[in-house]
């Protein structure tokens, strides 16, 4: 059979989880990471990262809205997916997806964004006309009181929501890791470290994404980048990256040293079919290089323009590396036979339902949603505060 080496069980030759399932953990990772960056300011009072706070929340929301789409497109019968809400199978890790997703979307992210923007929404509903007025009026949910006391309550409740949000973000992505880590039939996935590795890599990708988006947004708006903010974000990225990489290496060393029955097969795969995506892209280009670049900025004092360039390159490589990590987990875990005697090949379609074009569209879609969200709910201080100067708050 073309693309097959050695012996595969006859039903194994075609992969069942495609590039769309690679996108799913990549997207939810960006959500969790962006939210955790936002929580640095809100809960841990890291004031330096404040300029990215609202952008991080909107980024998390944009990606979270898209997160179920790759799953829906992958299902053989997407019209039956509602059954996961009505008749969830309690022993299934995947059955919890709907509940974890809804909890995170509605109880955490939307609530926090609404509380944070409520004052601005009320002011914008009063200053705008026509459709815009009605849109913002609807978004107030009838809560028009923006007195100091009311805003203080918003702040307090928002803090609590963020506090609840941090373990929720860990739950969202840790649970995605558990979906893979709990499959005992697959030695490439089966590891108790998988949820932790997923959470840390999620933080890395989310922080890198928000850092890049912030710098891009500032450039598009022709505004100065708050270097103090970006330096702090990059420092956190560096620290978390080291811990994430350390854990991945621990997993790798453990596998090599233990060398169980699957080792020979997995070792062969890493040196052949996964060599480029795992060794070259994920480890060398997507992990070691950005860690080295970020380390340079910690050791030497570069000019602002050099640091910006380094952060841009490191951020882009980080995202590529984390995507490669998801690819290697999802696709890599299906390239070898559970008999450990053979290997297959993943052939990605181009314009098929689970093909490359759909994957690209699903990657771009959150950025389009973010663009709309930024227009509707500007995360920049001067625009969000703009109307307040002209309008007297309703007390």
């Amino acid at each position: 059979m073309p693309g097959v080496e050695g012996f595969m069980y006859p039903n194994e030759t075609a992969l069942h989880w495609s590039v769309l399932i690679v996108l799913y953990p990549f997207i939810t990772g960006l959500v969790a990471g962006a939210f955790i960056l936002a929580s640095l300011e809100r809960v841990f009072r890291v004031e330096d990262v404040k300029p990215t706070y609202r952008l991080a929340l909107l980024t998390a929301l944009s990606f979270l809205l898209v997160a179920p789409l790759p799953l829906q497109l992958h299902l053989g019968h997407p019209e039956r997916s509602y059954e996961m809400y009505f008749t969830p199978h309690s022993s299934s890790a995947m059955a919890m997806f709907g509940f974890v997703y809804l909890w995170y979307l509605m109880a955490v992210l939307v609530t926090e964004i609404w509380l944070d923007y409520r004052r601005d929404i009320v002011l914008m509903s009063e200053s705008s006309k026509g459709v815009k007025h009605w849109m913002y009026w609807l978004m107030t949910l009838g809560s028009n009181n923006i007195s100091e006391r009311s805003l203080a309550i918003d702040e307090r409740v928002g803090w609590i929501v963020t506090l609840v949000g941090i373990p929720s973000a860990f739950l969202l992505h840790g649970y995605v890791g558990f979906i893979f880590g709990s499959v005992k039939a697959n030695p490439w996935w089966s590891s108790p470290l998988m949820p932790v590795v997923f959470i840390l890599s999620a933080m890395v990708s989310g922080i890198a994404a928000v850092m890049l988006l912030y710098m891009l947004a500032m450039r598009l708006r022709r505004e100065a980048i708050d270097m103090h903010c970006v330096d702090t974000v990059a420092r956190y990225l560096f620290y978390i990256f080291i811990v994430a990489f350390g854990l991945e290496m621990l997993d790798l060393i453990h596998r090599i040293y233990e060398a169980d029955e699957s080792f020979r097969s997995l070792n062969f795969m890493v040196h052949t079919k996964l060599y480029f995506s795992h060794i070259v892209i994920q480890i060398v280009l997507g992990t070691l290089t950005p860690i080295l670049l970020l380390a340079l900025t910690q050791v030497w004092k570069f000019s602002a323009i050099t640091r910006k360039r380094i952060y841009t390159v490191a951020g882009c490589l980080t995202l590529i590396g984390i995507f490669a990590m998801r690819w290697n987990v999802v696709i890599g875990g299906q390239l070898f036979s559970k008999s450990f005697l053979g290997y297959t090949t993943y052939k990605m379609g181009l314009a098929t339902r689970e093909g490359l074009l759909v994957a690209i569209a699903l990657t771009v879609l959150p950025l389009v949603i973010l663009w709309v969200l930024v227009k509707v709910l500007p995360p920049w201080p001067e625009r969000s505060q703009g109307p307040s100067a002209a309008i007297t708050p309703v007390i």
């Binding site: 006859p10 053989g76 995947m94 039939a185």
Partner: protein, 243 residues
């Protein structure tokens, strides 16, 4: 079919055993079938398998299995010089059309029929997000295809590679142990088609089933025992090289 008296006499004992298994393991007719009185599994006698592929063909015909997918299949192992960790395994088209003659060289050749192990603690049932895959009270792992949403999580969770996504129905499909037959007092299509009695349906709750005597007097093994799935496909004379 040309069957000499000599071959007839050779096959007669195997046919007798197979027939006895059918009779002993047969539940009552479907209307009176009580699920709580049965606990189904299968006995696979490796030395008896001749790799003819009858079972694969019978299964495909009985269950309308699409080409290129398998509810059951046969593998041929070639183990040389006790090299258990690196056997040469083939299963061309699931062994449906049998196997080309083996080369006369060192080592041993044997056939291993595979099918759903009807695990008592099945990982596929555990992971199904909507419960479309379930274990019946009589111990058969089944799929409600009107409920399955085709996520393929169960396909990933099966350690034995026994599940596939049906190419046209877009839902998961697998061996049902011919549930439509065994609840009517018949044996499975693969057992019925096996000319040597290498596959024998076993009712572990039926005290008259010969499986009990067999298990008492023979050394049997399940595939991948380290997976702790409670597999009920028992293999007699299973070589250590088999995965």
């Amino acid at each position: 079919m040309n069957l000499s008296r000599r071959h007839f006499l050779i096959l007669l004992p195997a046919a007798a055993v197979a027939w006895q298994a059918v009779l002993a393991g047969s539940p009552e007719a479907s209307p009176n079938y009580k699920m709580s009185e049965h606990w189904w599994g299968m006995l696979i006698d490796i030395p008896k398998c001749i790799g003819c592929g009858n079972c694969v063909r019978a299964c495909q015909a009985e269950n309308d299995v699409p080409d290129g997918y398998f509810r059951t299949w046969v593998e041929r192992y070639h183990v040389s010089d006790g090299n258990l960790s690196n056997p040469e395994v083939i299963s061309p088209d699931g062994g449906k059309e049998g196997f080309s003659p083996a080369k006369e060289d060192e080592g041993k050749y044997f056939f291993v029929p595979k099918l759903c192990n009807q695990c008592a603690d099945s990982p596929c049932t555990q992971v199904c997000p909507v419960g479309a895959t379930f274990t019946s009270p009589d111990g058969v792992v089944l799929v409600d295809q009107t409920y399955c949403m085709g996520c393929a999580y169960c396909v990933q969770a099966c350690p034995y590679g026994c599940r596939y996504i049906h190419p046209t129905k877009k839902v998961v499909d697998k061996c049902t142990l011919c549930y439509h037959r065994i609840t009517k007092g018949l044996t499975t299509a693969c057992c019925e088609a096996c000319p040597t009695g290498a596959r024998q349906l076993a009712d572990l709750k039926n005290p008259k089933d010969p499986i009990h005597e067999f298990l008492k007097t023979h050394s049997v093994q399940v595939l991948k025992p380290q997976m702790a799935t409670g597999a009920k496909a028992f293999y007699y004379d299973l070589d250590g090289s088999v995965r």
